[in-house]
Amino acid sequence: MTTTYTPSELLICLASRVMEDGTTAFIGTGIPMLAASLAQSMHAPNLVPIFEFGGTGAILEKLPLAVGDMRTFNKAVAASGICDVMETAQRGFVEFGFLGGAQIDCYGNINSTVIGDHARPKVRLPGSGGANDVGSSCWRTIAIMRHDKRRFVNKLDFLTTPGYLTGPGAREAAGLAAGTGPYRVVTNLCVMGYDKKSCRMKLLSLNPGMTVQEVIDNTSFELLMAEEITRNEPPTPEELRILREKVDPDGLYR
């Protein structure tokens, strides 16, 4: 058993640790699937994974490859459809939701639609998918991003998925459910949260080997700082063992 680990493995462990036992989490393709599976084996045996096309409460024995595949409802408690699941979130039953994208701003708004102008885009991206629904309905969303200035931007080219929109009170003013919003951003450099008052992104803790300056240098907007910036523990031997032996034995995400 070695204590070296890949950047992906670190991201998976950090995302996994954010989720709480006895809660529900909307799981998207890729890292969130591994994070949820790891969490189920570690601190959150009662974490309920929910997949947008209908799988609820699956036992994640094999890593799903897609949000609609058979593994998303493996020995699940329910297998329904996208409307039922999204309405369950709209009714307030889903605590956590994972998001990714091409750009994020200081309020946690995310772009996964276009770079450039919408009518004549420089780059056409895959679009919202379920992201807008997750960002609208889940109580707390967790963004997983690669950290650089082109992604952590002052102004999004397109606001696909709502974070805190223009700041305090803006979600509620737009009609989004009270008490919901961005919660954490997990990157290859650090973990960030949001300032309660201003709703702006705030550095909470640094990944092993990273510095505050590195985070600042890779962020286009002004980042708030927690009073005490802590260190994220590297993946523990136990986390790595479960990840490599149980969650992803084929090493797809190594």
């Binding site: 490859l65 897609a66 895959p126 629904d133 696909t160 998925t161 709502p162 737009a174 009609g175």
Partner: protein, 327 residues
């Protein structure tokens, strides 16, 4: 009726015109004329596309290319030469086949991509060049709820999603103040398809269908389609359907054409039957990167094949056995 009727404030409006107009009366008229008699709907993919699809139609697919998807029908559609489609776009692989042949003009868009493999280069090429002329944005649930409105026979449905975003601004949704609670909600217009394509686990010859596991948005889309074309892994006797009427997700009277298509979802997976053909899928993704290689892929795997059986022969029994789930 009260005398002092207050109007309902519209608080925001998406700027996109509707790609498919909302006309529940003509939908009702169409549905009235559909046969309610138990007659066989069995035909080939080619016949179904020939009879029920026209140039310029608004079409949709369920679920999506790598999961329980009517891909044998999609190939027949591509081969048919019909074109200029408007589509409801949630798609992985199956929409790419249409984009590869430049058959798509307008998209009610939610997600077209390659899941964990990222962005569709075919989508990029067709959108960035302007050959897809218009894209209207929605959330994933938003599109499904639009089908749900149509399936209910009502012209719109409310949601609390999409509010406050460019996704809303570039949609055709309307946000209002709820007359009962004062809260703001987005109204999504009903989406009626000219043609819907759905792949199911089993059906009887009349088109009574069962799906195993998750049902995606099959329930809603089947009921939102003027013409509904179903492919099924297996055709069963109608007595099997009548034994468990609670499992019928699509009743026969919705169905216009039914195709027996074992491995109809290939290279996608099918619950309980086979896994997705990952090497083939990756080969397709690789081919996407260059217009020439994707043309070769389309020629080899779609255009040069006369029908679904020819595809199965080409894949070969050995490979099909490999992806078949062991009981």
């Amino acid at each position: 009726m009260s005398q002092n009727l207050k109007n309902i404030p519209v608080v925001a409006e998406g700027e996109a015109p509707l790609i498919q107009p909302v006309d529940m009366e003509s939908f009702r008229e169409h549905n009235r004329k559909k046969s309610k008699t138990l007659i066989s709907k069995m035909m080939t993919e080619e016949e179904a596309v020939d009879r029920f699809v026209k140039d310029g139609d608004y079409i949709g697919f369920e679920l999506y290319g790598t999961v329980r998807c009517p891909v044998s029908l999609t190939r027949a559609l591509v081969r048919s030469g019909k074109k200029d489609f408007r589509i409801a776009g949630q798609g992985v692989y199956e929409i790419d086949l249409l984009l590869a042949m430049d058959l798509v003009r307008e998209i009610d868009f939610t997600y077209i991509g390659l899941e964990v493999y990222g962005v569709s280069e075919l989508l990029r090429r067709r959108v960035e060049s302007g050959s897809v002329r218009r894209i209207v944005e929605w959330s994933n649930a938003g599109i499904s709820w639009r089908f749900k409105a149509a399936s209910m026979g009502v012209p719109f449905i409310p949601t609390r999603c999409m509010l406050g975003t460019d996704t809303f601004n570039k949609s055709s949704a309307v946000a209002i103040e709820c007359p009962f609670s004062g809260q703001k909600v987005a109204l999504l217009p009903a989406l009626v398809l000219d043609v819907g394509f759905i792949h199911v686990n089993r059906a009887d010859i009349y088109g009574n269908c069962q799906i195993d596991g998750i049902s995606g948005f099959a329930f809603e889309m089947a009921r939102a389609s003027k013409n509904l074309i179903i492919s099924a892994e297996e055709i069963v006797d109608t007595s099997e359907i009548r034994k468990h009427p609670g499992r019928t997700i699509i009743p026969y009277y919705l169905v216009d054409a039914l195709i027996k298509a074992p491995f109809g979802s290939w290279p996608g997976e099918m619950t309980g039957l086979y896994e997705r053909d990952e090497p083939h899928y990756r080969m397709f993704i690789e081919s996407q990167k260059d217009p020439e290689t994707v043309d070769r892929y389309m020629k080899e795997w779609v255009l040069d094949l006369p029908d679904h059986q020819a595809l199965l022969d080409k894949i070969g029994k050995n490979r099909l056995d490999e992806i078949t789930l062991k009981k």
